[in-house]
Symmetry: C2
């Protein structure tokens, strides 16, 4: 590697991509790993006024403390002011019910922002490199997070800059070695998820076999995608301004106007994704715009109703929040329990299931969306084989269910009827009869 | 799989994505494989007037002929008019110096177009499915073919429609099995390249481990990318009209105006890619727009000069065509011979190479771009160790080179000087001396 070229590229990136002009004050996120050590070294030797911050997440016992001591010594040697902070990450995880990666992220950025406010610093630099960006691209591609996700990692967003995105992880290590910069290796790497590792160690190497310059090709791909996304966003902003009524939590989106837009699906995606709708649900919403009105779709926080003239977006009501919906296109749900749903024509030789975990209902009686919810006081149904109603609570007693079993029982609801006490008994009204033409099969998956 | 849903989805795709209205006459490309057999069956049962065409590429001897007999029998049984044509593909490959896949493609589409003209048919249907589109996406991602390549395969382009793109390869086979449609399996699958197989059997399965619904996610990804590309193209067309002077083979692109466009790189990509410039060369052109004027870049057919005010694009002259260029950023070239190029600072302990395939030149004398070309009559240089000039032809005689060796010898040219008779001897003027500061290392790779 040509060190001078590398340093020049770093400085060009700092100016052209990160928008850093002249000698600025920069807060450097310093873990002690090769990326952040190279970052601090490069910034210091590019006439930047650096202040370092180190987060001790107390996740790797002695190793975490050794990292802290390591950066303290280096900063003293390099004459860089250092702020260190210890976090009880495990407690934070327990309190907030989030993943370790998410907890570390939240704690880190909260600290960074506090320091920036107190010290009046406007720029935070992180050591993300080009391989990180490629992995992010593939993660987002696999998850379907839309065009934005395919732009990789931004060189600059708000106060955060990432001037090492031009470099590979290997180039950074070479830089450290050539400049005799010491660095620590994180033996566990809590921030590297299982999926990221799969992409790093299995998927990317296969692409490099296809194209040895895959890193450069992906840098170009992501650059083009970023520019395409910018053009796209300009159009999306225009559409939002011209088309949509309502603000914040509730929106009215006129169906006719949206239909006339030649890029209606991606526009709808830009409008609805901030409200937590996934790519596939948005896809279904777009398809249902030209169907019979009345369909409903749900995100974690919002409900969207396709009415005659508008898509109506409102926050979920309290009742909604404890209800889970199954649309006609749904083939599987994961929440609150894993169910698989199929529809098929009844054949003459059909014999229905006697397994209480896999049931067959008369599909002609079903009116989507179906709802999955917990029992309410007073719920009644006609257990299979009976012609009169029985209270759910009595049914549970008959079945000798334990308290835990009762609490974990879910109901499948069709038009306010209990169609199935999931895992236990279907309603007699929904059973397959000689006149049934289409069958809905619902199974509990493991 | 729900057959009725599948058929409905096929018909929806035919209308909404392929723009087929009412009962149309369609030419169906019928190989006899599952995809094209399902396609013909679905089209026939969707009230389309089908005419089938089968290409016998004579690539698999008896198997090819059995395929032909198979589709003849099926078309008789299904009452579908069939046109068959035999090609001597191997001869076509030899004559045109192209790959088997390319030859099959050219022969096929030439035949399709002829039939469409003669029979006045406006639509050609091919059996490409969703898995093909995903593989195309990854191939183009790996090669860096720009945003367009990431839109996968189009449902409709000119007269060609691909109504099976919504389906997976497996769904198509299930459809064939459920409908008792016979099909042939191509044991060699000449049209499946090595790279496509790598993507199909190694890369896609890894993504499916990350996301079991990867097929649907990718369908959505490609749909969003297609819409983004449409918006992007509308902008690119506008830029081309407003900014560029000249037509066809020669263009003038004003640097200042292009610099002011916030998506200059992707705009430049759209402008230059049709002239055969690769993504990475276009990237370098964009970077050099703000540097010293005079840089030149080459595609197979065109030369681009960065002058003071404009990018000037002209067709390559005859001399250009037999010359290959090495720019200052070039690290490797593959054509006309494989060379690797490095620059580094001379250290005190430097000892230059005595290997005639790996040479060290004084980089301070080098003025990019370097040129690689064959010897011309009258070419002279100063062989290392000599202070006078010698004719190349005399040098070849001294070296006792065979005719074949002479014909395969290339020269590395710097500013009209021969700096290296590649693989044999450097020029004395370019040798490393005590005053050399920077070294250019050029090696012949195997």
């Amino acid at each position: 590697m040509n060190i001078e070229k590398f340093v020049q590229k770093f400085r060009d990136t700092l100016v052209n991509q990160c928008g850093v002009v002249g000698s600025s004050r920069i807060l450097v996120a310093l873990s002690g790993g090769a990326d952040s050590m190279a970052l601090l070294h490069l910034l210091k030797h590019s006439e930047m006024e650096c202040l370092a911050v180190h987060c001790n997440f107390s996740l790797r016992g002695r190793e975490s403390d050794e990292d802290e001591i390591f950066v303290q010594n280096i900063c003293k040697e390099w004459d860089v002011e250092l702020i260190t902070e210890r976090f009880d990450t495990t407690a934070y995880v327990t309190e907030n019910g989030i993943s370790i990666e998410m907890a570390a992220r939240e704690l880190r950025y909260e600290l960074f922002n506090t320091i920036c406010r107190e010290k009046e610093i406007k720029l935070i630099a992180t050591g993300h490199h080009g391989d990180d960006a490629i992995e992010t691209f593939f993660l987002n591609l696999a998850r379907g997070t839309g065009l934005k996700g395919l732009t990789g990692i931004a060189y600059q967003r708000d106060s955060i800059i990432r001037p090492l995105l031009f470099a590979t992880s290997q180039e950074i290590i070479e830089y450290c070695n050539q400049q005799s910069i010491p660095f620590r290796t994180d033996s566990t790497n809590h921030e590297t998820t299982y999926l990221r590792n799969k992409i790093r160690h299995q998927i990317v190497p296969l692409f490099k076999e296809i194209n040895p310059s895959f890193f450069n090709t992906m840098q170009n791909n992501m650059e083009y995608l970023t520019e395409a996304w910018q053009i796209f966003m300009a159009e999306a902003v225009k559409v939002k301004e011209e088309m949509i009524a309502g603000t914040g939590d509730s929106l009215l989106i006129p169906i006719k106007q949206l239909n006339e837009h030649s890029q209606k699906k991606s526009m709808l995606f830009e409008i609805l994704q901030p409200y937590g709708f996934s790519g596939s649900v948005i896809h279904n919403i777009a398809d249902s715009m030209n169907g019979i009105p009345g369909k409903q779709f749900f995100s974690q926080t919002h409900r969207l109703v396709v009415d005659r003239y508008n898509l109506v977006l409102v926050p979920k009501s309290e009742t909604d929040i404890n209800q889970y919906y199954i649309n006609s296109e749904t083939e599987e749900i994961d929440q609150p329990i894993r169910l698989s749903i199929k529809t098929f024509k009844k054949r003459d030789d059909f014999s229905f299931s006697v397994n209480p975990k896999k049931v067959h209902l008369d599909a002609d009686l079903i009116d989507f969306p179906l709802i999955v919810r917990t029992p309410n006081a007073g719920d009644r149904f006609q257990p299979l084989g009976m012609t009169h109603f029985k209270k759910i609570s009595d049914f549970f007693i008959d079945q000798k269910l334990s308290l835990v079993e009762k609490e974990n029982t879910w109901l499948l609801i069709n038009n306010d009827d209990i169609a199935w006490v999931i895992g236990h008994r279907i309603d007699n009204r929904y059973k397959i009869t000689s006149t049934t033409k289409t069958i809905l099969e619902v199974s509990v998956m493991h």
